[in-house]
């Protein structure tokens, strides 16, 4: 199995870069027009148009301020400066701004903001950071992000367990109107029988990915399958930056975190991390004579 030294923080940097790229004018450099941000920042109010979730519309000035805060926090999160707070602020601001125009809602963006939130809560920022976070609080661990990734695949699979999808009709329609295109798509969706077979394959793979990724023994198989699936999606569907987001989150599966946690959480460190109260040292021990 491929292992990297700091999976949580490698994932943080990768996701942070996607977050910055997808929510700012940098997005216009991406090769997919669907990812381009037209206004100054993603979610910036346009033409006074309002379609807020639940009718809870915020004033334009507040939305603009949240866009700026989200961007600044995303940069700090990526660099690793006050990482937990920065990640939480970036994610919450991103979700609030997204709620102001429900037409802009995409699972891609939802996954991006929620992934950022969960990485922050998981203790990212203790390594590969400009200002590494202090070692206090609960031990860092990737289980939360891993659970989220597994749940995304599981829910995506569950949503497709229905007649219209399993008959291949949905894939055939999406191919017919150009949502799925390119030479590979033309081969994969050339007939009703192939569409049906592809539809079943997608469901089976998505439902299997969660258990395969969560079980240590099958993790490598799960990773290969997940990356392969996203590669095919990129070619036939060009689904915004969804593959990049999932790729960044899948980095959390690279590495045996249990061994690291044992090393991190030796008795002394664990005890201090609970309540983190320091006992003042006697003056005589503070600057021992050489």
């Amino acid at each position: 199995m491929i292992r990297i030294r700091h999976p949580l923080d490698s994932s943080r940097i990768a996701l942070g870069l996607v977050l910055i790229a997808r929510t700012t004018p940098v997005s216009r450099l991406l090769p997919w027009p669907v990812s381009h941000v037209v206004p100054p920042l993603l979610g910036w109010p346009e033409h006074g148009f309002r379609a807020a979730w639940g009718g809870l519309a915020l004033p334009d000035a507040v939305v603009i301020a949240l866009c700026l805060v989200r961007t600044a926090a995303a940069v700090l999160f990526t660099l690793g400066v006050r990482t937990t707070a920065a990640g939480i602020v970036a994610a919450v601001a991103g979700l609030v701004v997204a709620s102001q125009d429900v037409f802009g809602f995409k699972f891609t963006l939802h996954t991006l903001f929620v992934g950022t939130l969960l990485l922050s809560l998981s203790g990212a920022g203790r390594s590969i950071a400009l200002v590494p976070s202090a070692r206090r609080g609960a031990r860092p661990g990737p289980w939360l992000v891993r659970a989220f990734v597994a749940s995304v695949y599981a829910w995506a699979g569950i949503a497709k367990v229905r007649g219209a999808w399993l008959s291949g009709e949905v894939l055939r329609a999406l191919h017919g109107v150009g949502y799925l295109g390119g030479s590979l798509a033309d081969v994969l969706f050339a007939s009703a029988a192939r569409c049906r077979a592809d539809a079943w394959a997608v469901v089976l793979v998505e439902l299997a990915l969660g258990p395969l990724l969560l079980a240590r023994r099958t993790r490598t198989v799960g990773l290969v399958l997940a990356v392969g699936m996203h590669a095919v999606y990129e070619v036939v569907a060009r689904p915004d930056v969804y593959g990049w987001i999932m790729g960044a989150l899948l980095v959390c599966f690279l590495g045996d975190h249990a061994a690291r946690s044992r090393a991190y959480g030796s008795g002394h460190t664990r005890a201090r991390s609970r309540w983190c109260v320091r006992r003042p040292m006697p003056p005589s021990t503070m600057n021992p004579a050489p």
Partner: protein
């Protein structure tokens, strides 16, 4: 100084926050989104279904004269994420989902007030679960929803 170091029991706030966040985003939110409207809007249903729809927009002035409006003409009055829902919607088209359009038809009608001040703007959404095939003109029975907004008269 009081200190609780060794032997401290109970989870830290970060552990509690992680478990709470995990349960919320992995289970509660997706499940609730299925339960509330049966569409799973927050349950990662990406491309799991299609919908075929068209929009009919009319503006009626104070004298009762009705004008048919191409929905694409309103695309410049809404946000950039909303515009693609309007462009090309004068005829039936098949897309992955139109949940926001269905839920915010009135906001689309209100956007028409900038182009037709003082008029009454009607927006009718006709949708069919049947995918449109190339060359098809009719998609069979449709489910219709509409919204009407009386636009304020222009200030003198």
């Amino acid at each position: 100084m009081l200190a609780r170091t060794r032997g401290a029991t109970g989870p830290s706030w970060t552990s509690v926050a992680r478990v709470a966040a995990g349960v919320l985003v992995c289970v509660v939110v997706p499940l609730a989104s299925w339960a509330t409207d049966g569409r799973g809007r927050l349950a990662f249903t990406m491309y799991a279904s299609t919908v075929t729809y068209r929009l009919e927009v009319t503006a009626t002035d104070a004298a009762g004269r009705r004008r048919r409006v191409d929905p694409a003409d309103l695309a410049g009055e809404v946000s950039s994420p909303a515009a693609p829902y309007l462009r090309g919607a004068s005829g039936f088209r098949t897309v992955a989902q139109i949940d926001p359009l269905r839920a915010h038809l009135r906001d689309v009608a209100r956007a028409g007030c900038r182009a037709f001040p003082g008029d009454v703007v009607d927006v009718v959404l006709r949708e069919s679960p049947t995918p449109l095939r190339p060359g098809d003109l009719d998609v069979g029975p449709t489910e219709d929803e509409s919204a009407r907004v009386a636009c304020p008269a222009p200030a003198r």
